[in-house]
Symmetry: C2
DNA sequence: CCTCCTTCTTTCTAATGGAAAGATAACAGG
DNA sequence: CCTGTTATCTTTCCATTAGAAAGAAGGAGG
């Protein structure tokens, strides 16, 4: 009775799925404790392994965090494909509006992960998965934002077209970052009645 | 001959101006090595004191970094009062345009400091100097951006007005952050001839 | 001159990332 | 089945870090 036919998922010397387990542990810690909690020892402990067990899979801490950031960009791409929140009326350019709300909504729902995704100092951007996930997300964003200008996904770009892409991306990115770093509450607290995130985000977007 | 009448500025037990000297040292290290280099020991060594000498002046490392961030916000306020770069033609709302270029120009000229100013995790936002400097900078920014809407500096705010303030601030902040984290070069490299920062920033701003 | 209090140094501790070496298991070929 | 090879994981060790604690140095006011 001590030899289960289904292998016990824990306790084995070779974990079998440690890479994913470490990513899951890091994801959970990121939600609970923020980036501060993403220590090699804490992640490994949560996955039930020693603090150097991540070495063969990720190289070093920045490798692990980069893969986690890649997961974030993959989720961001999905979020930008979601429909608008219910309390936001659609207006002109509904595609761009949907992408913008998806971008900012993802950031507000996953603030720590979003910050990590842009923490250049702790990431190793040469990681293939991170490069791919980043490219995919920004492709989705700029194809929607640039549809108005007929901007191609590659090749030469006229300055005004590049400008409109940068402006659109900067707008949603800046709103997200300012909200996450808690720089907007002094402004939003002066608005009565207190608007839902979807509503004030839409107010900011449609003002531009 | 070993007792100079003019006190040697270094070597004294009581430094006399250690607080400013530590800020200067931290500022220099930030420029040279980035935020990574802002270790208590490195800063203290550069100022010629032991690694705990900052304690009486700043409490802990976050106290020191917060004062440095406050210096950053003070400089940002000055930058937003500067005239437009020479290669940028003025158009409608020149006041807002000037503020925007000042904001982004400051970020591009002091990327490490700008990132530090918004690194919520390493700052102690209860520091009076940081609170004051932040408030001043954002007052300057929003008074110019809100002039069009006649937004008061305090008191209740209608949602569309708050939205336009958030949109304007988010736009410049996002452009600055994306540029600093090196997410715009894939786009800008597709523009020929390579535009100066002032030109592409203006292209992004006037697209919105 | 004497005492108090701030400033700064020395010393110590706990925590961290990572290097190095070794143990363990999976897997291949004979 | 048996043995050598390789990737995975553990143990141990080290340098570096922030900060606490205690004490020395020196200025300020009585």
């Amino acid at each position: 009775m001590s030899q289960p036919s289904a292998p016990a998922p824990a306790r084995r010397y070779h974990h079998g799925n440690l890479k994913q387990a470490l990513l899951d542990a890091a994801d959970a810690i990121l939600r609970e404790d923020g980036i501060q909690g993403l220590k090699l020892r804490a992640i490994a402990k949560r996955a039930g392994v020693s603090h150097t067990a991540a070495d063969p899979h990720f190289g070093d801490l920045s490798g692990l965090l980069s893969e986690l950031a890649a997961v974030g960009f993959e989720r961001l791409s999905e979020a930008m494909a979601q429909p608008l929140p219910a309390d936001v009326p659609a207006h002109a350019n509904p595609s761009g509006q949907r992408i913008a709300h998806g971008y900012i909504g993802f950031a507000l729902a996953n603030p720590q992960l979003f910050v990590l995704m842009f923490r250049r100092d702790v990431l190793d951007r040469s990681r293939p998965r991170l490069q791919a996930a980043t490219a995919t997300a920004f492709q989705a964003l700029s194809s929607a934002a640039g549809a108005l200008d007929g901007a191609p996904n590659t090749g030469p770009l006229a300055l005004p077209v590049a400008g409109s892409l940068i402006g659109a991306w900067g707008l949603v990115h800046g709103i997200a970052m300012l909200a996450i770093t808690d720089h907007l509450s002094p402004l939003l607290d002066r608005v009565a009645p207190s608007p839902s995130p979807g509503r004030w985000v839409d107010a900011a977007l449609s003002a531009m």
